[in-house]
Symmetry: C2
Subunit: 368 residues, 2 copies
Amino acid sequence: MRTITIKPKAITHNLNQVKKMAPHSKVLAMVKSNAYGHGIAAVLPALQQADGIGVATLTEALEARQLGWNKTIGLIEGAFTADEWQQAIDSDISCVIHHEPQLQWALENIPPASSATRVVWIKYNTGMNRLGFDAEGVIAAAKQLHAAGYQLILTTHFANADNSTHPLNAMQIQRFSDVLNTLQETVSADIQGSLCNSAGIVNFSEHHYDWIRPGIILYGSSPVVDQSAQELDLQPAMDFSAQIIALQTVNADHAIGYGSRWIAQKDTRTALVSIGYGDGYPRVVNDDAYVSVIDTSNNQSYRCSVIGRVAMDMIVIDVSTAPEDIALDSKVMLWGDAPHVDEVAAHAGTISYELLCRLSIRPKRVQA
Amino acid sequence: MRTITIKPKAITHNLNQVKKMAPHSKVLAMVKSNAYGHGIAAVLPALQQADGIGVATLTEALEARQLGWNKTIGLIEGAFTADEWQQAIDSDISCVIHHEPQLQWALENIPPASSATRVVWIKYNTGMNRLGFDAEGVIAAAKQLHAAGYQLILTTHFANADNSTHPLNAMQIQRFSDVLNTLQETVSADIQGSLCNSAGIVNFSEHHYDWIRPGIILYGSSPVVDQSAQELDLQPAMDFSAQIIALQTVNADHAIGYGSRWIAQKDTRTALVSIGYGDGYPRVVNDDAYVSVIDTSNNQSYRCSVIGRVAMDMIVIDVSTAPEDIALDSKVMLWGDAPHVDEVAAHAGTISYELLCRLSIRPKRVQA
């Protein structure tokens, strides 16, 4: 059975790790994109100790409210229209304001003093060049918003925080610090700051400010290039598994699968596994890609290479490393403890975030 | 709004194209993996003129029955367990039998004569080396199944049908033809054949046999390397769209997005689009990747390059080609008529099948 197993205890563990790393900051836990593919309904109960959650769309925000989340919700790209701004007010959503139209909606339609929408995350573009005002613009916007009665959190986003030595990091930190100081001195001492995503939390512990915004780290993947999830004592929050549906021996010199791209060097015991890109396993993986076959009779695990092209509904693996009598129906781990999803992502030339988000609805979803 | 628009009329058109290409064959329309990501409920009504549908899992088969599909359902990897074989009987599912355990389940548990499960698709491995019996095995299995009262369809699967000149194609066709002849002469003249997937339908019109198994072609993508969807007169069955959520100018020498991988050569008008890999747009695309920005006031369309790294929730595009007053909220086509999903797949180093299947649940789904 193609199965995605979500482990809420792992998420709570990872949140606690984050809180240890940044003990003086509030936590806005990122649950956008259906909680990085884990399913927001499964994840929210594990995040009770977070101070708020972050989402990318109003729909996601409203879903979280419907699921009973009654603390802060941050809409990290803000409202897309004036109508969305009103809906944000109606549901007490705190919005990012990153460009002029959003500023105008906020100035023209001021929520009640008691509303969480009175807290605005004002975005400063320090070098990502995607969202945000420039230094002059953010100061001007902050003055107007403050005068209109909004409480402000200055925020920005790192472009290269995964790579601690990238020169842009220091520049972004400096720019952020300078503008925050200016705002606190010239507008209000109460203006807060939020700088760090997962990678920033790990790499820039001197710069955690008032709110941190952990995302991938909550789900058990490493956000940085030079430390593994294990080294950060993170636990993967998802097991992705399938089963062996056929066993056979492929003779030497025979090719396997589409494009005949894998050719047996010798007679090779293979197994067919009921998983494919139609489930969300990546179609293009390199020769290092492997899965773990579990002999459920004794819980032994065998590392087996993925061979041939990943198809929509199945993959072929080399079971030479497993006993000859490995059972049909044996469980196959695509990712979980081993391989870790970070490893699979490396084999697929991408990052774990993408693999987690791009799962299809076909696998059965359960909680551990 | 992130939106997936399914076009049932396009699917019916594509089915009619297939039927023109193979006028003497019955059609098993592939709807596995949630109808290649299009949504089986949306697709089935468009396939009323197909003779049957093909699915990869028993769950998919049962869902199609629940949705009211009362014609043939072919389970193309067959039952995974003896229990699934019984469930297939209970719901009149026709199964592939590709290895010894499935043969035993079928011989030990014979469905009533009236059951569709009495029709068995027996799989011959002609060179894909994934599923199927060898020549000797398939003949022996066919004899036993025929003696037990089953009606048989011999089937196999091409490894390289997208590439008409690949030498394995002729070998697979010859092997298939030889064994089918043998079975018809020595077991039963009524044994039917099914050889061609989408690519085979296009490339091997002399070898369509009794049943063809179109998949990707129904959804409007080209299954072959040397003819485009347009050349095959196919219509894309999915529009994938989003909207502009911010406009800005990035100054020369500034980098955009994660990894700072795109650097502006000159001051560049850019737009932020509310789509990312969290929706199913591929994270890794090359510099040829583009989208179409639609000016809804006059329906003009502008080709705009994707610049910088695709993120979970947004992409940045170069809108130099669009008017300066292009509206916030303008519609952005990720794929549809232009770019065709086949183009996006080429930019992402994969095939359209994967892009269509690996869409997340976040985009809103509608029908045209």
